[in-house]
Symmetry: C2
């Protein structure tokens, strides 16, 4: 079974249908949208075994990993639904009228409206949680937007079946069927046509820098530019601070070996860069990590393209100046297989070589040795923006090297203390984002219910009669939500 | 006294200084920043008479208008300071750790960090509230960003003196002097160099579409694209619904005549388009509005360039098909003077003529007569995005023509019932924004304390030890603010 690329006529039709569906869907209540998300989760759950099996075949990811991802996808749908129902997904502001003639002011109340049809481009490495029914789709639907997903060509069957579940849930919820549509496309022309279409009003994307940046540029060159929320990965540096490193050398080597090779290193939060200050402890850590990684078995990568890119990137990196190959690339009989690769270089060699700053997607890491702390700080200052930065440190270390925290807050979206960056908790406090080039919009997260805000914009009503206000702004507070009334948070009514 | 354009060396120096100042300023507490805003307000207040006199000379705006704007500018600084101090300016999310081994989750806490140095481009029509010490500067400083203002060439003296007040307040607050810098530039090259500089991390702009869009394009083409918050004006349609129109014909004509000509129509929220359904009442309204406007005296426009553009735009509009000139353009002996101009056309002529959809900055409005309500709805569907839309309607009208509310929420940032769009209340519930082309980022407002969010981005801390968290995220809640803890809003501590 093959999936032909959508034609321009089909894309035109999909956009028109998405717009019509949007015009109706935007008027649904938060409760209706939350119920849709719950229904999607239930419909998916009923087909878990089949969908996981399909994804295993298409992505070569192990069963347990996919089951966890599947559970996370359902949890995400439910959590966004809950955030919507309780109103904590956003801020509702009311400033009541001032009647004193000397300083009369109108009544002003602010809520949100959905942006319009959203084009979603899923990721190859997360067939569930960052794909067809993933965070972008969940948050766009929660926002009140219709969605067109372009299936990732690496898992078109899984995507098609997940899409069928969403469509079934829409039908069961008696909502317009074109609230969600699904198209295929291996050619970049399909994505381009979709993002250029005037009726598409926003884009959600998870994937490579090259593809994400291309969509960003297309969207910005439209007659009406639209927002693109592209999450494009990063190198996720880990900083080993002296006291912690000498105390917990083996534990750190263990943790990082696991994180570097989890799912064959195919995470946007994989730690690709490990920085330490020259010391015996660092040498010891390096040999422990090398040993650990050597004993980790080869894993299948997602698809030929990614396996190929991994080989290319690793080859490019090893041919740079002053690279010591701790575990060189070793080719395998199976073209999809990848074994861990570990290299080492000096901070001075690293700082001036942009090739070494680039993400290598797969089970690869580069250790960077710094002569002194100031050199580590210099590396931090020279890094591009990162989804995550990790500090392996005792509290003494944090105290002594506080300047590193200051430096890293300039470039990262999430800072982790004594943990690994892989594993992104789905919760309201999560920020999965960062300045460019890790994402195209540093204001928003793609994980956690705050992701819904990407697909709405504020709108305010001035002096509107109560019955014509949306329920979240009405005097009676029928949704029983928290609102900022005259600069005070309250869940009270307005008398 | 003349103000030479900043040279490229001066811009380079300003950007470097802004970066250094930012590195220190970003670490100030909310209280320190709020105090700076209050201090700026006080420093300005002490020089009110002088500054208003200077602005009168440079902008030809009347004294009362400038005094009101001056008061609003101080109020704005104070209000943003208050929002900052009380923590209601943003959302702070905490999800505490889950220790159950089966579903263990890290502690995650989310706050914000400032983006970096911000370039601010003020407006010609608001020498105080949307210029040097205006909303963009106030919100960038509140966010923890350093600021470089390029003075508007139409009021360089006022801008220079306001800048001096800000610099004095910074000095009095013992903050780094380059937290705020001020440069001049009549050439677009100055703006371009500033926006292109890699150390500039965001742009605030209020002005014309052409200039705003140019900055947006420059910013997006940088190696590291940066956000541009440009507010570029709109036509602000007013919809006269039948029952209201026939009941309050004279009042509506009065209100609109005032709003169209307030400050010579030089507001981004000036009602430039008035739509009604063919009726005797509409005819009566039209003649009343014509009479009112005829008797409003000529006013001085801001500067030669704007007066010239007004003449050009009005001439272009009158030469379109099917335009009835109710009050034709009349030239004046004084090149700065402008008298009100009013034209009328049919919905069918309007819909297909993009020239008539464009903003005419100045005392001009176009009445569009619709055959039936459906035609009015069609006009609404064909309009570009607007900062405001106004409904003149009884509750019966709103009930009967609810589809119009639905149509307008698609395109506007603020919807007004039975009021005029001019006059933007500075409060948290205000949304002064809209989709493109009225602004370049529909997610954010440029008025009200939510404007601060433009210049920060979220950052989250995972498993961080309490003393190393920013105060807003610490267990003890030392700032006594509201936070979302495990999905519940609370001002409690974490035990």
């Amino acid at each position: 079974m093959s999936f032909p690329d959508a034609t321009s006529a089909e894309i035109e039709q999909a956009a028109q249908r998405a717009w019509q569906a949007f015009l109706a869907y935007r008027k649904t209540s938060w409760k209706q949208r939350a119920d849709l998300l719950y229904q999607i989760a239930e419909t998916l759950r009923a087909r878990e075994a089949e969908l996981v099996a399909l994804a295993m075949k298409e992505t070569h990811l192990p069963e347990l990993r996919l089951k966890n991802e599947f559970a996370r996808t359902l949890f995400q749908l439910q959590q966004y639904g809950k955030a919507l129902e309780t109103g904590i997904w956003a801020e509702f502001r009311i400033d009541t009228a001032v009647h004193d003639p000397a300083s009369a002011q109108p009544d002003v109340r602010k809520s949100y409206v959905p942006l319009g049809p959203v084009a979603v481009f899923g990721a190859s490495n997360f067939p569930f949680a960052f794909s067809t029914a993933g965070g972008d789709t969940a948050s766009a639907l929660a926002a009140g937007c219709s969605v067109i997903v372009k299936a990732h060509p690496a898992h078109p069957h899984t995507s098609t079946q997940v899409a069928a579940c969403i469509q079934q849930a829409i039908q069961q919820s008696s909502l317009p069927e074109n609230v969600f549509q699904h198209i295929h496309g291996t050619s970049p022309a399909v994505s381009e046509m979709l993002v250029k279409h005037p009726l598409i009003k926003a884009v959600g994307f998870t994937g490579s820098y090259v593809a994400g940046k291309a969509l960003f540029d297309i969207a910005r060159q439209r007659k009406q530019p639209i927002p693109v929320f592209a999450e494009m990965g990063s190198v996720n540096p880990v900083f080993l601070l002296p006291e912690k490193l000498s105390r917990d050398t083996a534990t750190l080597a263990d943790m990082l070996a696991g994180s570097i090779t989890l799912s064959a290193g195919q995470f946007c939060t994989k730690p690709g860069l490990i920085l330490g200050i020259k010391s015996e402890a660092l040498q010891h850590f390096t040999s422990l990590l090398t040993e650990k990684l050597k004993h980790i078995q080869a894993q299948h990568m997602l698809h030929e393209g990614i396996a190929h890119a991994f080989r290319e990137k690793v080859q490019l990196a090893r041919h740079q100046q002053q690279i010591l190959e701790l575990i060189p690339f070793s080719s395998s009989t199976h073209t999809l297989e990848a074994k861990p690769v570990l290299s080492l270089t000096s901070a001075s060699a690293f700082i001036d070589n942009p090739v070494l700053h680039e993400e290598v997607f797969g089970p690869y890491a580069l250790i960077v040795t710094c002569e002194i702390f100031e050199e580590m700080l210099e590396v931090a200052d020279r890094l591009e923006a990162q989804l995550t930065c990790t500090l392996m440190a005792t509290e003494n270390d944090l105290q002594q090297y506080r300047r590193l925290i200051d430096a890293l807050t300039l470039i990262c979206g999430r800072m982790i203390w004594n943990g690994v960056p892989t594993g992104v908790r789905v919760c309201m406090a999560m920020h999965h984002g960062s300045p460019f080039p890790a994402t195209t919009d540093s204001h928003f997260t793609s994980v956690g219910a705050d992701a819904i805000k990407r697909f709405v914009r504020p709108v305010c009503f001035q002096n509107f009669p109560d019955p014509f206000l949306p329920p979240e702004l009405q005097n009676e507070n029928p949704l029983q939500i928290w609102r900022t009334i005259n600069h005070q948070l309250t869940s009270s009514k307005i008398e």
